[in-house]
């Protein structure tokens, strides 16, 4: 089965909202959500550095390819039928630096953003 495993931070409200939104989107590849650094995550990926996955969103492809941070976000976009085009656009050499900056900024401030949006 071709899936992407998304290791997300269960303590962040923004991430839970993102999860709810993703659940409704039509997908080209199935997404499996596993809380980062959980027993489930350690069982699935025994060799992965789980402390690192707490820092930022991590996506693991069915064949073991690991994507951290902004790359993980791009892979999640790529799995969605409506946004696959955008994943290529945002990953293009012209836009990739901006994508990385924006995604990192959101990711590092996720708890503050969660507080502001009240979840």
């Amino acid at each position: 089965m071709l899936t992407l495993t998304v290791l997300y931070d269960p303590e962040c409200g923004l991430c839970r909202r993102a999860h709810d939104w993703l659940a409704e989107q039509p997908k080209l590849i199935d997404l499996v959500f596993v809380p980062c650094a959980s027993d489930e995550a350690r069982k699935r990926f025994p060799m992965l550095n789980h402390d690192l996955t707490k820092e930022d969103l991590t996506v693991v492809r069915y064949d073991g390819a690991v994507y951290f941070g902004p790359k993980a976000w791009l892979m999640v976009l790529w799995s969605l039928a409506r946004y696959r085009d955008w994943s290529y656009r945002l990953a293009s050499p012209e836009l990739l630096p901006t994508t990385k900056k924006v995604v990192s900024a959101i990711s590092q401030n996720r708890y503050q953003i969660s507080r502001v949006i009240g979840s």
């Binding site: 080209l28 069982k43 699935r44 990926f45 025994p46 060799m47 992965l48 693991v60 492809r61 069915y62 064949d63 073991g64 390819a65 690991v66 994507y67 951290f68 790359k71 791009l74 892979m75 976009l77 790529w78 039928a81 696959r84 085009d85 994943s87 290529y88 945002l90 990953a91 990739l96």
Partner: protein, 133 residues
């Protein structure tokens, strides 16, 4: 009498323009469609033909509806002025239709790129995956 001549000239110009634009679309749109349909030329030709039929119907429909001037043309100057307005409108409608067609072509091409399964970016690293029992 001058009004009738104005109508006839308007029809001649509009019909000629429509045929010219339709042929240009037909000739140059084919390459796009063959690409969209993965080299299936029979299907591309069929869709191309259907698009051109729709193009003709809409444009001739507009030309026909916009024919009536609502006043009498007394001399050549008034005739040319009336023609400039009418033909100008036909040109703008043709231009709009032309861009609409281009939009459809580009959309079809984009939809094709969805079959692209290449990930957008290289992974950072690889890890062992424990297969679920």
């Amino acid at each position: 009498m001058t009004t009738t001549y104005t109508y006839l000239i308007y029809l001649a110009i509009s019909v000629a323009l429509t045929i010219w634009v339709a042929r240009t679309l037909h000739k140059n749109g084919r390459v796009f469609l063959v690409d969209v349909f993965h080299g299936n030329e029979a299907l591309a030709d069929s869709v191309n033909h259907l698009l051109v039929v729709g193009f003709y119907l809409i444009n001739f429909g507009y030309v026909s509806l916009a024919l009536k001037l609502g006043y009498l043309v007394n001399n050549a100057q008034e005739g040319i002025e009336a023609l400039s307005v009418k033909v100008g409108m036909v040109l703008i409608v043709l231009g709009g239709m032309h861009f609409f067609n281009l939009f459809i072509f580009s959309r079809m091409r984009r939809r094709k790129s969805h079959h692209d399964n290449r990930p957008p970016i290289r992974p950072d690293t690889f890890t062992a995956v424990k297969q679920e029992a």
